[in-house]
Symmetry: C2
């Protein structure tokens, strides 16, 4: 085999091939395939036909080098691996992101790092290398240092979290204050007079906002409130729950920040010999299949993480598209309305088990 043959990059079809076949210049092909004016409709049709026939795939590298978008969005997570694995939120959120991005031919690039500094450095490098057209930043914290860092980069970035604390960056978020209000109102209407909240990572903005709303709505409705920090994770939640139950003036309802925490807490309640919801009602602010399939099913706030991901993706693509558009000014944010899903863990009249029907029919 003569190694001198220039190895014609086996099989790659380029716009030059299409141009040749169509009897036009590569530039005309470029205009045609990108749906830009400059070629007649007839020519465009012909070029598109040939491209399809030749099975042409555009080269993202060439496009990027010539200044076009690279069609990639980045997301970096500064969380330990096992947290990512055990919390339902990220899988569903990522799935929603993917769905919208894929439909627009965008890829999602992900990276896990171990500090906010490494996260910011990743953003810097990604943009410097032109690896991404934009990024989505999650786990917003109070006075988050990543916000000014992203503002300084001046590249398309979307914050997941709010309201507030996202500076001049566009954001999407769930109205956590409203979520907490729905929960507390629900519990108050059931007659609870003393309610506890077992809270996740204290530095997250939504944790602080939930804390504040919890106190406020409790005071407003005359419901006694008690707050327990637990950090995310089953162990902290179990410990916090045990502590609460050991109190003299133990609460008759406990609200957890995540599905994983609620499951762990519910175990502790049941193990102590108390009944759910008769002795202690249980609520999770993060719904999941596990919350649904628990016995009894756990009342939850349905944030629909998938929908949340979809919204984030479409919002970020808008920002990317508007890039450089100085006239657009500060981007407005978008809010998701939370919804309360009442289940048997708070309301005895709700079905105790979603599986009853299924069981019966499978016995036949």
């Amino acid at each position: 085999m003569p190694p001198s043959t220039p190895a014609p990059r086996r099989g790659r079809v380029t716009i030059a091939d299409i141009a040749r076949r169509a009897g036009v210049t590569p530039a005309a092909v470029s205009l045609a395939v990108n749906g830009r004016p400059g070629v007649s409709d007839a020519t465009r049709e012909r070029i598109l036909g040939i491209a399809k026939e030749l099975d042409w795939e555009p080269s993202p590298a060439a496009r990027a080098l010539a200044g076009a978008p690279v069609l990639t969005i980045g997301m970096v997570l500064a969380r330990p691996a096992d947290v990512l694995g055990s919390e339902a939120f990220f899988g569903a959120f990522g799935a929603g992101l993917q769905e919208v991005l894929s439909a627009r031919d965008y890829a999602l690039q992900m990276k896990i790092v171990d500090s906010p500094e490494a996260e910011v450095e990743t953003y810097r490098r990604w943009f410097a290398q032109r690896r991404v057209d934009g990024v989505v930043m999650v786990d917003l914290r109070v006075d988050d240092p990543r916000v000014p860092a992203l503002e300084a980069l001046g590249e398309p970035a979307l914050v997941v979290g709010g309201p507030g604390h996202h500076g001049s960056l566009p954001a999407v978020y769930v109205d956590d204050a409203l979520a907490v209000r729905l929960v507390v109102e629900h519990l108050a209407s059931l007659g609870h007079r003393r309610v506890a909240r077992v809270a996740g990572t204290a530095s997250f903005l939504h944790t602080a906002q939930r804390d504040a709303a919890f106190e406020a709505v409790g005071a407003e409705l005359g419901v006694g409130t008690v707050l327990q920090d637990a950090g995310y994770g089953a162990e902290g939640a179990a410990r916090a729950t045990a502590d609460l139950l050991a109190t003299e003036d133990a609460p008759s309802a406990i609200v957890f920040d995540s599905d994983e925490m609620a499951l762990a807490g519910a175990h502790v309640v049941l193990e102590s010999g108390r009944a759910i919801p008769e002795d202690v009602a249980v609520v999770t602010i993060e719904d999941s299949p596990l919350a649904r399939s628990h016995r009894p099913p756990i009342t939850a706030i349905g944030r629909s993480a998938v929908e949340y991901g979809r919204l984030a993706a479409s919002r970020l693509l808008e920002v990317v598209a508007a890039r450089g558009d100085r006239s657009s000014g500060t981007f407005e944010s978008r809010v998701i309305e939370p919804e309360l899903l009442v289940r048997a863990s708070t309301d005895p009249s709700a079905p105790k088990s979603p599986m009853d029907g299924a069981l019966r029919s499978s016995v036949s």
Copy 2:
């Protein structure tokens, strides 16, 4: 603002800049930064210093266009979004992948699709566009159509699953037959004479292999076995468990294919008034924080999904590096040894709750 200015791509430092400063040609810079022979050590040092000083970031697009690797690995998942969210495996596996890839400056690109055909089409496009240097394929099935499709592409691809059914593609997998053997031997040693297995998605290769090993080891040890297909997911597992308990000759131990399934099954057991492990022992073949924090903690096979992901990444990078190396022939596979983690859901002498100590100390 005169729009005629050629807008010198604000701030981008290129190898031309470095070459100018160093008094060499761009080609020399390329050789130097890529650690290739062709420049003297002194020159190389000088060039590297200048590159660092100028904060130079190589352009992946330019590199890719010139034929170099794009430093990206792809993974596509053909699973519904909610399954991804509720199973611990993917988060941890993905984290392990990331860790190794990031250390080698590789990015991970992900996509969720809804069919094996769409998955194969994604591989084809990714390689056609040179978006990735290699892919990792998960959820191997018996006679999986994706295997011949990837073989035909002839691009670097790693199969997660086996042994067998991965054709000529390199693979990494957990020894599922051994995992099942460890579990059944453990249960037999505790005196169980009738054991059930609640199995996940039947078409997955590892499900079939676990089924076969379950029957075989049961027969070998004189333990009666009963198999229940449930599909993945809490609902199917709950139903299967209820069915098993309703049997005249009910098993004294139940082995589940995933943590989510085991949790749902354990609820059904407890709800029926039976004690774990006194009346029914429970095991999961997929460990997770939820299995650990359950009351009682659930005996599990520790596959260490994070480690699994790390292995997959390093194996795939080897394959990518060896690409075109015709001499290497068929790639050998790599196996992970499963490990049995005995907890209170099978062994009454194991601590009933990992939190007892923590609770006690926090009460002080």
